[in-house]
Subunit: 351 residues, 2 copies
Amino acid sequence: MKLNIALLAGDGIGPEVIDQAVKVSDAIAKKYNHEISWKPALTGAAAIDKVGEPYPDDTHEICATSDAVLFGAIGHPRFDNDPSAKVRPEQGLLKMRQKLGLFANVRPTFTFPSLIDKSPLKRERIEGTDLIILRELTGGVYFGKRGREDDGNTAYDTMTYTRSEIQRLAKKGFEMAMTRGKKLCCVDKANVLESSRLWRETVQAMEKDYPEVEVSYEFVDAVAMRLVQWPKAYDVIITENLFGDILTDEASVISGSMGLMPSASVGSEVSLYEPIHGSYPQAAGKDIANPLATVLSAAMMFEDLGLQQEADDIRRVVNKSLSEGVVTEDLSEGGKSYKTSEVGNWLAENI
Amino acid sequence: MKLNIALLAGDGIGPEVIDQAVKVSDAIAKKYNHEISWKPALTGAAAIDKVGEPYPDDTHEICATSDAVLFGAIGHPRFDNDPSAKVRPEQGLLKMRQKLGLFANVRPTFTFPSLIDKSPLKRERIEGTDLIILRELTGGVYFGKRGREDDGNTAYDTMTYTRSEIQRLAKKGFEMAMTRGKKLCCVDKANVLESSRLWRETVQAMEKDYPEVEVSYEFVDAVAMRLVQWPKAYDVIITENLFGDILTDEASVISGSMGLMPSASVGSEVSLYEPIHGSYPQAAGKDIANPLATVLSAAMMFEDLGLQQEADDIRRVVNKSLSEGVVTEDLSEGGKSYKTSEVGNWLAENI
Ligand SMILES: CC(C)[C@H](C(=O)O)[C@@H](O)C(=O)O
Ligand SMILES: CC(C)[C@H](C(=O)O)[C@@H](O)C(=O)O
């Protein structure tokens, strides 16, 4: 198979972890006789520095014409505490999601047997957790009208949803539930928000098309509680953009290692794969960041491209690295730890 | 001292737990020679059923002219899955917050030594947690313009903040931090939301008035993670209404027992005290609900009314009930458990 993969390393530790995913993917390509043509492109603060724009048109062109996008991380602290910055790395991310039509972020949450004791949560609460949060990614308060009034003393943001945006996301949720535990939980704040009431009524109307799926409706505040109390109660969760942002990060605590969690952002055309962790600027350039989440994101990519065996192979070597302790310092528990690049090399050799 | 206390029992288990707080408060009044005049008033679904309105004018009149309001819980499941309901119990709560000017919800999070092992989080992560979340309560998306367009197929909500709303809340946060660990964390989503950028710039401008307070700014998604990873890292957290709704509920997991957590909603005039748990309709009328959160809310009330010794006395008997196992079934670990009313009687007798 010939594959064109757009490669967006981004900021902070992005380039380092992406490098390892490339090594592993190339090893897979060699083993299974595929040909991967990597198309590097600028994004984030790195792109602002070079061309003044966090998601340049050239980058979009490359992504839109590729088979998939592999993404590192973006964000730089110099923008965070400057509320007046005109151009921000995050704008690139949002523009990319919108222009590529990536309307659903898929975030699996599961535990790794060998790492379960690293979780802040007790073993009996989390063992066997296997849930997916499906976060709407191109609507809501992220993309509504916002601005200032009254000489800058009043600020507003608008949370908007249309019925078809909700249907599109919910359909994916129902379909996903059908291939799994057949449970769907719609998370909203319908006791307060009109947009949430539209979510609830839209999902309610779709229930009849999926009679086998057991659907529940829960308020976001309650789920913020239950997700860490009894994560095993959930199978597929669907929710709007901002709630999804918060809940997916919260859910990442369950596994005990954010450095291992992959994600996919999918749409109608091309899909994007990225680790859920951020750009972690404090670690940038030190060759210490954990590359496994990015490597596992590449596995999700192969799977979605129809290459199941390739995906399984990657997951197998990742598990092997965990059980043999070939890990970065965040997972080494004071024992021997390896550099980011060493872990990448080891994985590639073991493919 | 003569005290007029508005008594809003509300829905579900509200009346039962409120009864116990009244018993305990009356015992305190007797011991310290105070005279409490309780003013019961309707609210929530109970008020809708009787007078068609979840926060009737009569109730407001009673609250506004009292020294404090003691509140049970509101909400009834028959409204939750009916997106078309015109009148909802929660509207009463929001109207009450707005009309009484309760702009700040104060939620302490701490652990009870005797209950620490009930937490889903590991002991070493939470032991010694002592944080307060100060949630803005009368602004943001709860009170912005909302509605439908396009034949009901588009719904929107508006998140709005003014600089003075933010200053008012932040001032309380800074002052609270000064009496505690001198650390303030402002939680927002300034990398996306304009209202969050106004929060951040407003709080930044106030820093110079509190040079001793160490201020940090964190994104809500990151805090949703860190709050369960390392709750001890926080002292005072300030945040807007919706983020506060989510984070306070999430934080309630830390202690291991929601049934114990009190809260206060404060403003310029009268303040309101309530347990953080909801109306728990499944348990209503069964005399099994844990009354301790409501009793501890009464303790917060006495403290704010300047009656520190009275507050300490209540906390002392609550701790005694916990260590002697005079608790409802949620805390009894399969051992002997007591009815809601029995716990209330025991507490009152032990004052
Ligand atoms: C960087 C930020 C804009 C982004 C978001 O809020 O969507 C991030 O938190 C994420 O979840 O991908
Ligand atoms: C019932 C609901 C409207 C309310 C809120 O969201 O404020 C509740 O969750 C709370 O936190 O008091």
